[in-house]
């Protein structure tokens, strides 16, 4: 989809993306020639249709906005299944000192981020369960290799 400024026949540019708010995002376009601007406000169906492509909407300079729309598509289902989603988040964010939370080394986090978002929570669940059983305090690359050897025949 492209937008054309009807005042001066210039292609408009996406300047910002705001939201999501109850499934709606605001995409703010402006004309660099005559400064005309407008906001396209999507409904949840439109937002969902585009995010189903697995892409980011809007300027990539806003990581929080992108993260809100590109989180694991199975969050709800996994929570119902008892997968610890906070532990999964902990693997992405800097490790906290919270009880029962295992620290992930930067290299291990990097490897985790190389797999699809929809697999990560389940992978973290399996890895951390294994590590706790073994009494490990930290997940590093060696632990990842060990878990893989254990599970992947």
């Amino acid at each position: 989809m492209k937008f054309l400024c009807t005042n001066c026949d210039t292609a408009m540019k996406l300047k910002d993306a705001v939201g999501p708010d109850r499934g709606s995002v605001a995409l703010i376009y402006a004309c660099d020639t005559c400064s005309t601007g407008f906001a396209m406000l999507t409904n949840p169906h439109e937002t969902q249709a585009v995010t189903s492509l697995g892409i980011n909407i809007g300027p990539s300079t806003d990581p929080e906005f992108a993260a809100a729309l590109s989180k694991c598509p199975f969050n709800g289902m996994l929570q119902e299944m008892g997968v610890d989603m906070e532990a999964s988040d902990g693997a992405h964010a800097p490790a906290t000192a919270a009880a029962n939370t295992l620290e992930w080394s930067p290299e291990a986090k990097s490897r985790l981020e190389s797999i699809p978002a929809f697999v990560r929570p389940m992978a973290v669940d399996g890895i951390e369960s294994y590590a706790r059983d073994k009494g490990y305090q930290q997940i590093d690359e060696q632990v990842l290799d060990e878990v893989r050897e254990h599970f992947v025949v």
Partner: protein, 305 residues
Amino acid sequence: MKTYYDIAGDGGSNILDQVSAQRDAIERNLDRVDAIVAVGSGKGGVGKSTVTLQLSRAMAARGLSCAVLDADLNGPSQAHLAGLEGVPLLPGRSGLAMPRTSDGIGVVSLGSAIPVTRDLEFDSLAEGSSQTWRATREFTLFGELLATVEWGSLDVLLIDLPPGAERTFQFAEFLGPRATFVLVTVPSALSHGVVARSVAALHRAGSEILGFVNNMSGYYCADCDEVRPLFPVSREVELGIPLLGAVPFDPVLAECCDRGESSSGLESRPAVEELDRIAEAVLSKITIRPADTVASASLKEGVQP
């Protein structure tokens, strides 16, 4: 006034570039996969998944490196058939590690991750309208698997397709000209009729069909060592594609598959012998490249942004 085609770029949404980058990632990750064989039908319950895994076993027994990707995201069965249920999908060195069966076949299936008591439930910003986005979401997920699994150097990647002639067509478009197709039917007129629609869909997509497997072509009775009829044989619908082989139903093989066990030791049974002949026929129709060559066909040829 300018038209859509007068304007270069998309003003910053970058959607087409992102979709193109996804296709590039798939293509790069499949660079060392020699042949992609998609096993479909259109009809459900004809044994696509069993045939797929057994073909991979027959190919592996010839020393080929094979993997199976379960594209039936809503009814994944490969993890169960391969004995890999409950084996988590884990990070490898640079992507998703490929679980392997005890006989060395890579099997990637959402059945490894989602228990059979759950349906595949996507989060949605638009409750009650999944018909508008669900297929797109599923293909995105399928593409992510293609792009991130550590396939390594494979001779054959077999893809177990979900039922539905229209789905077969969609996968043909998504996979592009690199993928060839094997269709599975049972001998009934009903099944042949549905599979004929898939043949038509694949012709429309311009895909190469290697042939079809007549599965459950009879019942193998071990007591009398005979194959007896199981379904009324259809003579009404000609599929117009080569018959690769006819596999009799074998309760011993079926039990073995249902337990997720290897069919090792069953090589002399008629069904397994026939599957072996079918694998040979498939291999005679595809090209396994020498190790030092690179992909010549492009998945991107199938992209219609």
